[in-house]
Amino acid sequence: ACSDEAEPAPGSDKVTYVTAFGAVGRDAFAWVAREKGYFAAAKLDVTIQLGAATSENLRVLAAGQAQFIHNDLVGSWILAGKGEYTDIRAIAASHQQTLVSIVALEGGSVKTAKDLEGRKVGAATGSVNQLLFPAYAKRVGIDASKVLWVNTQPANLPTLLASGQVDALSTFLIGAKGIEKAAGGRKTVVLPYGDQLKDLFGNGLITTAAIARDKPDLARRFRDAMLKALEYTIDHPEEAAQILKKAQPAADVTAAVGEITLMTPYVRATGIPIGSLDQARVARAITTLEEGGLIKPGLKPEAVVDFGLVPK
């Protein structure tokens, strides 16, 4: 994964890019961009590294070990709003709405959001899923404090639910297929936070403030290559999954196709270009976070997004 197979054009800019989380369907477009020659065409020599999690990726970016990352925008902005990592700039949104959801098994005790009070809900430790939950609970009218959180590692979540250790999970909805596999084919009930918290974005491409300021052309070339690949990916889920599998043999084609299919409606929203980051929506998203008590008031949209670099 470290070196490009497609020969980079001479004089290309060397950059390092970090995926959101390992090598699964949602991140397949990076390898598609490479395989399809989009990077080479944009005179980019991109090294793709596998990301660990929201905060780890931000740290890597801040430490200068990478120039671009794919990250959860809500989580990133919460951290920016707390005064950490203030020198990051989003340049595109890959998912127009947050993918965070409540997932339960059909036939279980959780059928609607109302059923969550008094239940055990598993989530990745300290993840944005938990942070956002009070805001979600308020909208659906339940008492957030009556939910029993079980902290665990992301990889462990499907097993927890499948084995009945928890009644529901808070996770990305695109993981639902994997959860069904873990549960031996039982169907899932998916309750997206996005149904209630409509202004929150999902993942996005982020770079440093310095690059956004000093090398806007580099950022644009990278953004365009990636968005082109993202579009190609949702149009050709099977092929994208194969490309992913070729670069990362540990990836699973079926699971990747499932993720890509599930995320498609979140990538392509009517009336706006892929990757769009609308300033007014960003402002509303920040307001949502402020109202949820997740950040202190005062975070400006320009402080987390470079609107000069977002797709128009």
Partner: protein, 249 residues
Amino acid sequence: MKSFALPVAGAVVAIAVWWAATAVLGVRPFFLPSPPDIVAAFLAQPGYLLREAWATLTATVIGFLVAAVGGVLLAVVLTLAQSVSRATLPLLVALNSVPKVALAPLLVLWLGFGAAPKVVLVVLICFFPVVVASAAGLGSTPAELGELGRSLSASRWQQYAKIRLPWALPQVFVGLKIAISLAVIGAVVAEINQPNHGLGAVVVLSGMSFDTPLAFAAIALLALLSVGLFYAVAGLERLLLPWAKAITG
């Protein structure tokens, strides 16, 4: 008196270097907080931190004791019968090689959310050093003492109880000293995986909320805990084995 001066001096120098580094290089606190930041974080909620430290300590100590006793017993079995050792040691090595991080979630699955998975992880992580060191110790009885036992028609059990095990104790303690450090790590790995209690949970949760000084306060407590436990084991060794020091030089 003097025996405390040097370790304290070492710690003071280390902290001073660290402090100087953060001050001179102007490191941001969330990368590496300076000592006063950490002290402040501790003083902000000492009760909470000490309570979590206690949780980590108990799991560590219980798991360590189980592993110590079990490890020595297994070493006895392994040295008793070469064939058992031949057949099972590779399996033991293979099992030990499974990264404990990967095991932690499974333990939660099997044992639930209480203290059990933590204790089990501690046992698993510190079992192997005790077994390897004890087996080496039990196999190192000088030929003349081995012959002494045999010449007295000592039973297997007596040979171990009266000769081999006492002789092996200094080496058992090598295993125990390595194990006690691992035990703390094991408890923390379990807590990181399933952060409801303990200093590992504090590290994770404060990391999530980007309270790096609090995370480092927890890490500092962990270090203190480790050092304390290590020296407790070393002290026990001194107490039990004065003869071992006396016959070396």
